[in-house]
């Protein structure tokens, strides 16, 4: 027995979901020991910023564990509520977004190996009838990335679109990475089918 699903529809231009928890982009409070900040720009096929986008992130904690009862290694104790692993950032008028979080640890691939540290990302906006899904990997995890089963499925020439790279914006923010999301074009971000 399998029912049809409720279809996806666009978030439209007027979402203003004021999520109180974790302050949206702050998976951890700014200034948390070991925090990283991922900034980027969401752009369309003309290279223009998408100013009405919504970026959501979901990830493991630095030990590679999830705050979720379906983690078969046993759930992270709920005392760890301070790190839910979920971030949400609306894009600004210039298409930029920002997530402050902790770098996830390696996560088992379920077949006896590990996946490189990564963050799952949903992209929503006006003009998107369904979300697009991508992943953030880290360019400074070369060894882990080389052994990652998902990256291995991505054409070599496109893998770089999935890498957050250390970034200096002149503010000396510690642990700053850049991860742009391009919906189309030469450097179109790799999107996934789950």
């Amino acid at each position: 027995m399998s029912e049809l699903l409720t279809p996806s529809q666009t978030v439209g231009p007027y979402f203003s979901m004021r999520l109180p928890w974790a302050g949206g982009p702050y998976v951890v409070p700014e200034g948390t020991e070991g925090a990283i900040t991922i900034v980027g720009r969401l752009t369309d096929g003309a290279g223009d910023p998408i100013p009405d986008g919504l970026i959501e992130t979901w990830q493991a904690n630095p030990a590679g564990r999830f705050a979720h009862p379906d983690d078969p290694r046993g759930p992270v104790p709920w005392g760890d509520k301070a790190f839910r692993g979920f971030g949400r950032s609306e894009t600004a008028h210039d298409g930029t977004f920002k997530i402050v979080t902790l770098k996830p640890g390696p996560v088992p691939d379920g077949a006896g190996g590990n996946q490189a540290p990564h963050i799952d990302v949903s992209v929503f906006s006006r003009g998107m009838l369904d979300r697009s899904v991508t992943r953030i990997y880290f360019s400074d995890e070369e060894t882990a990335n080389a052994a990652d089963p998902v990256l291995a499925q991505v054409p070599a020439g496109r893998r770089a679109t999935l890498l957050a790279t250390p970034y200096d914006d002149g503010t000396a923010t510690p642990g700053l990475y850049r991860f742009d999301i391009r919906m189309q074009g030469d450097q179109e971000t790799v999107f996934f089918d789950m």
Partner: protein, 249 residues
């Protein structure tokens, strides 16, 4: 050992849930000619298959500690009562296998009775209602049930084509229990004459899937002298279980 729904033990090994893929036509295409803004905003390269692993079969479990009673009643969030027809929107969240989805966050947002959103980028010359923000949230109960009290939203014009009007709708955002189940959708009202002209609604090609987005008027749940009731059940991807092996030392 048998597959258990919650325990996720399969043949003595650890197991992960696996969420069934939607049937073709169930969700709208990302590139849809009738909806102009999709043109520059859909991926053109083929999608890469992402097998569901731990990150995809877990997901944020939000809201239990931050939801207040008034979050589900959009008519009592302000000092005064909003203008318009009071309605009750209720239903069940379940998966495609028919299992209720309990303890999951639902967020809604909508225009007011005049078809106006409370939003900086909104320019429709219809009145703002100081007593209506149009934003609500609630958590499903153990049976996957939810209930909002709100105002019948108005239709509003948009720039997609000449004389384009969105049918009255309420936006809904759901997390389910896994990243894979995440859904953002819209609920429409039965008999709305604008539905047949709306490219967003009509982007869904499977007719049976499409009508899942139309709520059902319920006289039974309508409260005498007080509010009309609309029932809207929401179906997320259902799950099976697969074997999970721990990393070799």
């Amino acid at each position: 050992m048998t597959v258990s729904d919650q325990g996720l033990v399969l043949s003595g090994k650890l197991a992960l849930p696996e969420y069934a893929k939607p049937q073709p036509g169930n969700h709208p295409p990302l590139d849809f000619e009738g909806y102009k803004s999709t043109r520059l905003r859909h991926p053109k390269q083929p999608l890469v298959l992402l097998p569901q692993r731990l990150t995809e079969v877990t997901g944020p479990l939000l809201g239990d500690d931050v939801i207040t009673m008034t979050d589900a009643d959009l008519t009592t969030q302000k000092p005064g009562e909003p203008q318009g027809q009071r309605i009750i929107v209720f239903g069940q969240v379940r998966d495609s296998g028919g299992r209720p989805v309990p303890d999951t966050l639902i967020e809604i947002w909508q225009a007011n009775a005049a078809g106006r959103y409370l939003h900086a980028r909104e320019h429709h010359p219809a009145p703002i209602d100081p007593n209506f923000d149009g934003v609500g949230r609630c958590i499903t109960d153990q049976g996957g049930r939810y209930r909002f009290i709100t105002i019948q939203p108005g239709a509003y014009p948009w720039g997609n084509h000449y004389n384009a009007w969105r049918p009255a709708h309420i936006h809904l955002s759901l997390f389910g229990r896994a990243f894979t189940q995440r859904l953002v959708t819209q609920m429409y009202f039965p008999g709305d004459p604008l539905l047949k002209y709306d490219p967003i609604y009509n982007s869904v090609t499977d007719e049976k899937a499409k009508v899942r987005m139309i709520s059902e008027f319920s006289l039974e749940d309508t409260q005498p002298e007080w509010a009309l009731a609309y029932k809207f059940d929401i179906v997320l991807r259902g799950r099976n279980a697969t074997v999970f092996e721990e990393p070799h030392a």
